[in-house]
C-alpha cells in the first residue's frame, strides 16, 4: 500500500494538493501514480503566469513506460514551477510529496477544493482500480 498523507487533498487523476495557507496550493503526483509510471525521464511544466482551469491538462509526466497528462486540480494562476525537475525528473519518484512537487497555483476559487478527495477517499479510488 502506498503512502497517502492525510494532510493533503487528492484528485482522482492522482494529483495531490497542499494548502500553503496563503491562497496558493502546491500540486504534485501521488506515490501511487509515480509507482504506476515508473522511472520519470521528462517533466513538462506550465509557465509561471499561465491561467489554468480545474481539470485542464497543464503538464506532462513522461516515464520510461508512458507519457501521462497532469491535470490542474483547481483553477487559478500558476505562480511557481519546480525547475529542479528539468535536470532531475527522478525526484518525482524519490520524493513524490516533497521535493518532487510540480507547480503551485494561486486559487481563483478556493471552494473548488471541496471537489477534491481526502486521503481516505483517494485510497478508495486506488483500491477500485
Amino acid at each position: 500500500m502506498s503512502n497517502i498523507p492525510s494532510e493533503l487533498k487528492y484528485a482522482p487523476s492522482h494529483e495531490w494538493v497542499r494548502n500553503e495557507g496563503d491562497g496558493t496550493f502546491t500540486v504534485g503526483i501521488s506515490e501511487h501514480a509515480q509507482e504506476l509510471l515508473g522511472d520519470m525521464v521528462f517533466v513538462e511544466l506550465p509557465e509561471v503566469g499561465d491561467e489554468v482551469d480545474a481539470g485542464e491538462d497543464c503538464a506532462v509526466a513522461e516515464s520510461v513506460k508512458a507519457a501521462s497528462d497532469i491535470y490542474a486540480p483547481i483553477s487559478g494562476e500558476i505562480v511557481a514551477i519546480n525547475e529542479e525537475l528539468e535536470d532531475s525528473p527522478e525526484t518525482v519518484n524519490n520524493d513524490a510529496y516533497g521535493d518532487g512537487w510540480l507547480f503551485r497555483i494561486k486559487a481563483s476559487d478556493e471552494s473548488e477544493l471541496d471537489n477534491l478527495l481526502d486521503a481516505e477517499g483517494y485510497s478508495h479510488t486506488i483500491d477500485e482500480e
Binding site: 515508473g38 520510461v64 507519457a67 519518484n93
Partner: protein, 360 residues
C-alpha cells in the same frame, strides 16, 4: 496460471516488482530500471533469463537439419563452442523466431529460442525435424542467468573454480563452454561484455546469491529492454515477426546466401526480395528533445510512411531512440507523430550504444 522460474523467490527477496511476461511471472524492476540499466553499462548487472527455451539437437543429421531450418549456415561453425545468431523462417520468408545456436559437434547443437514463442517454435522444430535423423530435446531442467557489464566477467570469476576460470579465460565473444555443471557463454543482449550462464535448476539460487555477494546488481526486464534497444538488438514480436522479412529487420547479416544450393526454408522468397529490393528497412531514430519515441508511432519520410517498432528513453544517451521499419528510400531525417504533433527526428544506423559509449 503463470509460470515461475526457480529464481522467483530470489526476486521477491530483492524487492522485485513482478509482471506477467508472456505467461511467466518475471521481475520488471527492483526499484529503478534506470539505475539497473546504468549498473550494466558501468559495472555489472544480472538478469534471470530462465524463461528462455533451451533446446538440444542431437543425431547424425543434426547439421543437415539446421542447414534447412535457419537462414544462417551452421556449416560456418567448426570450432566447438562457437555460437551463431540467426532466424528460422517460414516458407513466406517471415521470421518465426530469432535464436542463438551453439555448436558442440556436427551431431550436437544447442538452440536458445524465445519464451514467448516457445510453443510454435517447438511445433516448427518437430515438424521440420521429422524428415531428419535427429532428436529435439527441450531442457527445462536448466535455469539461465545473464551477467552483463564491463565488470561482469571479473566479478563472475571470483566465484568460479580453477577449472572453470581456465575454461573461460580469454574466450572470444559468441562462444560457449560446458565446464562442470555450468555452461558459460560469452553472449548477451546488452551490448556489453559478459556471460550467459546455463545452470542446473537446483543450483541457480545459490549462483544468483553468489553473484549478488560479488557485487552484481539484479536487473529486470525494463532495463533489459532499454539496454538491448540502445545496442540495436531486435526484440521478437516488436521489431520482427512472421509477417516481416529478415531483410526488413536488420537481419541480412544473419542470412548465408552461399552456397547457393543450400535450400533453407524461406530462401526462394528472400532471394527474390533481395534482387528486387522490395522490402522495407530497419533504421535507428534519434530524438534529442523532450519526449519519448514509442512503439507503434507513425513515421513519415520522403515518399512514404513507416512505423516505430521499438522506442524508448535511452538512459545512457539522455534522450530517446527508436528502431523503425521504413521505406528503403528513407534519408537522413523523418517525422514522427508524438502526442498529436509531428516532431523531426534523425535517421541513423540501428545501433546506438556499444560498450558504454554512444556510437551514433
Amino acid at each position: 496460471m503463470t509460470s515461475k522460474t526457480v529464481l522467483h523467490a530470489k526476486h521477491l527477496e530483492a524487492g522485485a516488482k513482478m509482471v506477467d511476461f508472456h505467461g511467466w511471472e518475471m521481475p520488471i524492476n527492483y526499484g529503478s530500471q534506470i539505475e539497473e540499466h546504468n549498473s550494466v553499462r558501468t559495472d555489472a548487472g544480472m538478469f534471470d533469463v530462465s524463461h528462455m527455451t533451451i533446446v538440444d539437437i542431437e543425431g547424425p543429421q543434426a547439421k543437415a537439419f539446421l542447414r534447412k531450418l535457419v537462414a544462417n549456415d551452421v556449416a560456418k561453425l567448426t570450432v566447438p563452442g562457437k555460437a551463431l545468431y540467426t532466424g528460422m523462417l517460414n516458407e513466406q520468408g517471415g521470421v518465426i523466431d530469432d535464436l542463438i545456436i551453439y555448436f558442440f559437434s556436427e551431431t550436437f547443437y544447442r538452440l536458445v529460442v524465445n519464451s514467448a514463442t516457445r510453443e510454435k517454435d517447438l511445433a516448427h522444430l518437430a515438424n521440420v525435424s521429422s524428415d531428419f535423423d535427429v532428436t529435439v530435446t527441450e531442457r527445462p531442467e536448466f535455469a539461465m542467468i545473464a551477467v552483463q557489464g564491463p565488470n561482469a566477467k571479473a566479478k563472475t570469476a571470483t566465484l568460479l573454480n580453477a577449472e572453470q576460470q581456465a575454461a573461460v579465460e580469454g574466450m572470444k565473444p559468441f562462444f560457449g563452454v560446458q565446464v562442470g555443471d555450468l555452461f558459460i557463454a560469452t553472449t548477451g543482449y546488452t551490448g556489453e561484455d559478459g556471460y550467459e550462464i546455463v545452470v542446473p535448476n537446483d543450483q541457480a539460487a545459490d549462483l544468483w546469491q553468489q553473484l549478488l555477494d560479488a557485487g552484481v546488481k539484479p536487473a529486470g526486464l525494463g532495463a533489459r529492454d532499454t539496454l538491448r534497444l540502445e545496442a540495436g538488438m531486435n526484440l521478437y514480436g516488436l521489431d520482427m515477426d512472421e509477417s516481416v522479412s529478415p531483410l526488413a529487420a536488420n537481419m541480412a547479416w544473419t542470412i548465408a546466401w552461399e552456397p547457393e544450393d543450400r535450400d533453407f526454408i524461406g530462401r526462394d522468397v528472400l532471394v527474390k526480395q533481395r534482387a528486387e529490393k522490395s522490402t522495407d528497412k530497419l533504421v535507428g531514430l534519434v530524438f534529442e528533445e523532450k519526449g519519448v519515441l514509442r512503439s507503434g508511432s507513425k513515421v513519415i519520410v520522403d515518399g512514404g510512411e513507416g512505423i516505430i517498432t521499438s522506442g524508448t528513453f535511452s538512459p545512457t544517451l539522455g534522450f530517446s531512440v527508436a528502431l523503425a521499419r521504413v521505406p528503403r528510400s528513407t534519408g537522413d531525417t523523418a517525422q514522427v507523430e508524438m502526442r498529436k504533433k509531428l516532431v523531426n527526428v534523425k535517421v541513423v544506423k540501428p545501433s546506438f550504444v556499444r560498450n558504454g559509449k554512444s556510437i551514433i
